[in-house]
């Protein structure tokens, strides 16, 4: 299976290059040329309809008929009878998807003595709740849950199955997808229904978030995706005729092959600033150890780490591995909060790759504001305590 260019027909319009997801085609001497990255996906052929300069010997793959697959399912991720917030967020998104497809939203709830959660699921948009209760489902174990979901999917044939990208979801979803013979897109940030083919377009970051890819699962069903917590919004709603479907399945302990010996709640140890999602950094404008104790409090609330400029290391306030900049570390957190940092290149060389930069400084002309998404001109020792206050009483759920 190969793709080739009919050189006489190619006018070098570059449409094929835009269409290719793999950089499998490039312009050489004014006309298109196939590179070794080509995976023969055929996207370029589609893009070259005008010139018809690209041909291939690939037989178009047949798309199976999935019209009997109905419903948008959300897996209700619960531990010790408490729902993970992400499944309510997914129910919110599922309502949009179901509307665009003309399907219904369902939730899948597995566990032991979890019927108190049914109402919450209905209240967040699940018209149907599939409930499977069994002693062996009390605690999550991969094979047990996979076997049950496989049975549900084969019995009720959903069109879409969404799971939260929690530790549990990321353990379970791939195994389920393999078992029921379908594809899976992990950690989606956007889900939408394509109006033409009614396919779910699943968009996710790749290469550390530097590139976004939109993915579809045409040839298998159900269409499965996992979504990170916090990306979608929950939308309380009261569906008409909420229905509970109790499903029975016989599970055997010896098939499950794992045994939970213990579960322990424990705070995560501090992470290296290179791996932290949130960084609160301080510089010359932060008032000594006291000031950094305040920044530490903010970092803890945000689940982040402390960092600083070189001066702070020299004053012995923070250890050497917290230094960001030319002679320190280069970091790319999601959120970088620069407190009392003027923004000299010696420091900023190590943090310009951050996703969001927030600057707090009392000098409105400080160069850091030119790098920041959002800047606050003011005294760090007033703004940060206010920040801490609002975050703590605003109430994390």
């Amino acid at each position: 299976m190969t793709i080739w260019i009919i050189e006489e027909k190619c006018d070098g319009c570059r449409r094929c290059i835009k269409a290719c997801p793999y950089e499998g085609i490039k312009i050489k001497d004014g006309i298109a040329s196939v590179t070794e990255r080509c995976t023969s996906c055929g996207a370029c052929i589609e893009a070259c309809k005008k010139q018809n300069a690209i041909e291939s010997d690939i037989e178009p793959r047949k798309i199976p008929d999935f019209s009997d697959r109905q419903g948008v399912w959300v897996f209700a991720d619960q531990t010790d009878g408490k729902l993970a917030r992400v499944c309510l967020e997914l129910l919110g998104k599922a309502q949009d998807l179901a509307k665009d497809m003309g399907h219904k939203v369902s939730a899948v709830l597995l566990g032991k003595d979890v019927s108190h959660l049914i109402q919450t699921l209905h209240d967040h948009g699940a018209q149907n709740v599939y409930l499977v209760e069994d002693d062996l489902l009390k605690n999550f174990r991969t094979i047990a849950y996979t076997n049950v979901i496989e049975d549900l999917v084969l019995t009720y044939k959903p069109n879409i199955l969404l799971m939260g990208a929690t530790a549990l979801g990321r353990d379970l979803a791939p195994r389920v997808s393999r078992r029921v013979g379908t594809g899976l897109t992990a950690d989606c940030t956007q889900l939408a229904i394509d109006p033409d083919e009614k396919l779910m377009f699943q968009t996710r970051p790749a290469f550390g978030g530097n590139v976004m890819a939109t993915i579809a699962c045409k040839y298998a069903s159900p269409q499965m995706a996992t979504v990170r917590p916090g990306v979608m919004e929950a939308a309380p709603c009261k569906p008409e005729n909420p229905t509970l479907i109790r499903h029975k399945i016989s599970l055997k302990e010896q098939d499950i092959r794992t045994k939970i010996l213990e579960r322990v709640t424990q705070k995560k140890p501090g992470t290296d600033i290179i791996d932290a999602n949130v960084i609160v950094a301080g510089g010359r404008g932060v008032n000594g150890e006291q000031g950094f104790a305040m920044l530490k409090e903010l970092a803890d609330i945000l689940g982040g780490e402390l960092a600083c400029t070189r001066l702070i290391i020299e004053q012995g306030i923070l250890p050497h591995d917290a230094q960001v900049g030319q002679t320190g570390k280069t970091i790319r957190p999601e959120i970088y909060i620069a407190c009392g940092i003027s923004g000299a290149v010696q420091h900023t060389a190590g943090m310009t790759g951050s996703r969001y930069i927030i600057a707090i400084n009392n000098d409105p002309l400080a160069p850091i504001f030119k790098l920041a998404n959002w800047g606050i001109v003011g005294d760090v020792h007033e703004i940060v305590p206010e920040f801490i206050k609002q975050l703590s009483c605003g109430g994390a759920s």
């Binding site: 195994r175 790749a206 590139v211 709640t265 998404n373 994390a396």
Partner: protein, 268 residues
């Protein structure tokens, strides 16, 4: 105990560069490395081998140049290596990749334990481990950050979860996916590394026919998911100065963070 370690060659995304004009990823000159989590998988495997004896076998799917990560694996102490390489494997999604790997593993046959990195830095999907475990119909433990004990019947591991950890006993054979907390990977030993580059080194290359798969079952053709398009998100900074009283600017900032596409947004 015979241990299979799955390794992947990935572009080094820590020093990734974007074209300043188009915003596209510059792939030219991107250095290839062994996926970081896989280093921890190898370290775990070699440590177990040192205790129990047996063999460590590294398996990778990729183009011919992916042999370098297998050489590195042997430098770290793997005894044998297998490269699954065929034009037909290219463009595979996780379904087709896990199928190909599991067929390679079935051909190796003699194993008690499979260890792989939790996720690869170029895709971050964390799907291959569980999918391979399901193809092979064996138990799995993901997010492993400690291996407490191992014998031919059972392995006891710790799994890192959001709010703590879980201790799990698994019946062998089992597939583990490990995270970086587990250990500190050793550097390759020069003697093992140099030997692995010699012609007589035990590195095997298997194509589709060797592992008994049809070309329509693997690669892009065997995949269930397909990339429709790729694009570069617009990360342009607004350089906005927030104005108002301290109370107002802070609440404005928190609002913006809540609406942002960050993973902490929902916690605020």
């Amino acid at each position: 105990m015979n241990i299979i370690v799955l390794v992947k060659q990935v572009p080094n995304t820590t020093n990734i560069k974007l074209d300043p004009k188009t915003g596209n990823l510059i792939r030219e000159g991107l250095e290839s490395i062994m996926n970081p989590d896989d280093l921890h998988a190898l370290e775990a495997a070699v440590k177990i081998k040192d205790k129990t004896g047996g063999k460590v076998m590294a398996v990778s799917m990729g183009p011919p140049q992916a042999v370098d990560v297998l050489t590195q694996a042997m430098g770290m102490g793997a005894d044998k290596a297998f490269l699954l390489s065929d034009r037909a494997f290219s463009g595979a999604d996780t379904w087709a990749t896990s199928y190909t790997l599991s067929k390679g593993i079935e051909k190796i046959k003699d194993y008690d334990l499979i260890i792989c990195g939790h996720q690869a830095i170029d895709g971050d999907t964390a799907q291959i481990g569980p999918q391979v475990a399901d193809w092979l119909d064996i138990a799995q433990a993901t997010y492993v950050n400690d291996i407490e004990s191992v014998d031919e019947n059972e392995i006891v591991v710790k799994r890192r979860l959001e709010h703590g950890f879980e201790r799990l006993a698994c019946k062998m054979p089992v597939l583990l996916t490990v995270i970086s907390e587990l250990n500190e990977p050793r550097y390759p030993h020069m003697e093992q590394l140099i030997s692995a580059c010699e012609q007589k080194a035990p590195i095997k290359v298997w194509n589709a026919a060797d592992i008994g798969v049809k070309t329509i079952e693997v690669g892009l053709e065997g995949s269930n998911t397909h990339v429709i398009k790729t694009f570069t998100p617009n990360f342009k900074r607004q350089n906005e100065l927030l104005e108002g009283s301290n109370k107002e600017v802070v609440s404005d900032l928190i609002d913006r963070l809540k609406k942002s596409d960050t993973t902490i947004a929902y916690r605020l």
